[in-house]
Amino acid sequence: MQFDVTGHSTYCYSGGKPLDPAKPTVVFIHGVLNDHSVWILQSRWFANHGWNVLAVDLPGHCRSEGAPPASVEEAAAFIVALLDAAGVAKAALVGHSFGSLIALETAARAPDRVTHLALVGTAYPMTVSPALLDGALNDPQRTIAMVSTFSHSMLAPPLGPGSWLYGSSRALMRRVLASNTDANVFHIGFKACNDYANGEQALAKVPCPVLFLLGEADQMTPPRAARSLAQKAPGAKVVTVKAGHALMAEAPDEVLFALRDFLK
């Protein structure tokens, strides 16, 4: 499904279904060098269980036009504009990694538009090591391999029959990087994560229910790195699953059940 968002064609996976004004809407926001397909199972389930799904490709990523957002704030403004373009008054936001910061900032900027906030594989501050920042800019293929290794915690993941997650996450990152020949979305995304400094202030402005959904073996955003932010939201629900940073693929059912229970 394509929308015109501030003059740029924007792709959202909707599970093959048109938007139904009678249904609630959930927006899935991917992380750095990913696209909508990292939510392949969860987004399809919600699309077939009473929800409108907008699993977006962020601007400048794969099927979406426009400049890639250079900051979390810029990306949050885009999500609000996407809701406007889709004619969606209110939505639940589910973000992974970089996407979790975007969801958080969006919920703070437009609290009346957000019904639920799910922060998946999150950390605050989301510090990116100089090695990864530099590698994303100067040696992206090697750095993709490093990030793929850091993002996985098991050699026998259950995503789907025959899927090899190390290979598929590397292939997706290469595809997303190649999809934008004007800008290095890898480095821009990492820098936006690293620069974001408004997390605690943003969380203080969020009135809706909040879920922290974390991977206990996550080496990119370890659960301890989300602890201080979670403590600032005493009402927040924290769920930890046995997985690494790629928890939607390594623990697909557990992630689905946590989101399903949270969005009930």
């Binding site: 199972l41 399809r44 794969c62 026998a156 025959g162 090899w164 290979g167």
Partner: protein, 436 residues
Amino acid sequence: MSGYSDPGFDTLALHAGAAPDPATGARAVPIHLTTSFVFESSDHAAALFNLERAGHVYSRISNPTNAVLEQRVAALEGGIGAIATASGQAALHLSIATLMGAGSHIVASTALYGGSQNLLHYTMRRFGIDTTFVKPGDLDGWRAAIRPETKLLFGETVGNPGLDVLDIPAVSEIAHAAKVPLLVDSTLTSPYLIKPFDWGADLVYHSATKFLSGHGTVIGGVVVDGGSFDWERSGKFAELTEAYDGFHNMVFSEESTVGAFLLRARREGLRDFGASMSPHTAWLILQGIETLPLRMERHIGNTQKVVEFLAAHPFVSRVGHPLLESHPSHALANKLLRHGAKGAGAVFSFDLKGNREQGKKFIEALKLFSHLANVGDCRSLVIHPASTTHFRMSDEALAGAGISQGTIRLSIGLEDPADLIDDLKRALKAAEKAGA
């Protein structure tokens, strides 16, 4: 796992796709000999059928034991996933049937396994898929053969019968310029000797019957997707990029940005053609793969010794292995294969300085080498094409196929190399005497 890089090849050969069984603690991969899997609820059943949740429904489509094999081969190849099939031929057919229909066209190497040649030259033509064959090293020929309806380029890493090494970087460049993928049969090399994705191939398949299994026990195949080919950007594969009303109106390339081929191959090809692998077979192939690195080292080490022996023997007129500098693929083998030309595998042919009868005598005099129609066994194998696979052909036709009356094909196993050489020495003497 932790660290800066993925586990190495030998580790993946043992662990990729497998963990101790959560229900029983079994360390080895269990054999899930069951046709079907109980649903937790009606909702669970519907979610599995509609690809909303991961899991298994029916063993023609997927099975937990097969899934381990699929992940393991995908890991060893550096791919995104794989599908296990009933045979290598089934893997080739599944690849073709997923990518095209009647009116499509393939450009293939002439240096193919006879079964693949039959499938393309006779059988697929009956279903409206045409193939143009070009010599693997003729890069202009590959380019010239491409038509608007071409959907696939196809060759073998190391081709039959002369071990022509496919110039995967060059041929994949030609394929990609034409917006089509390159499919490579890597049976004779296995992922241990070459990883075709690293050189530009898009899809790889194996007859797992051969070196992956390694013990001459089961028939099986596996096709792996490298996840690098952009089906949408190509614009030539509506099968993957447009809604398919045969499966929930799914647009496979939207569902999975890099995994569209495997999605359709499993959800349509395995479902409808049904050429799936038995879980028992998958388990035996997994057993083989656990020792693949060790076996391949021994296979090619033994082969080197046998090639050196034959090349120096006065009753041998030609040895067709890229180890020899005179072989046309010597330089390319050194460039592309692990261990260089030594990595061109353990299956090769050589010519006796004799007639058809002397070739038969040679075979009959062998004691360790088994006379049969297979390759890639841990035991050494031999066949005499002029008296078996090609026995109906005239001497002229044989010559046209690059086979002489004295051509012998060997598949070198894991025995003591000195014993193999003694066996060959004895048989060569017997053949020589038969011509006296």
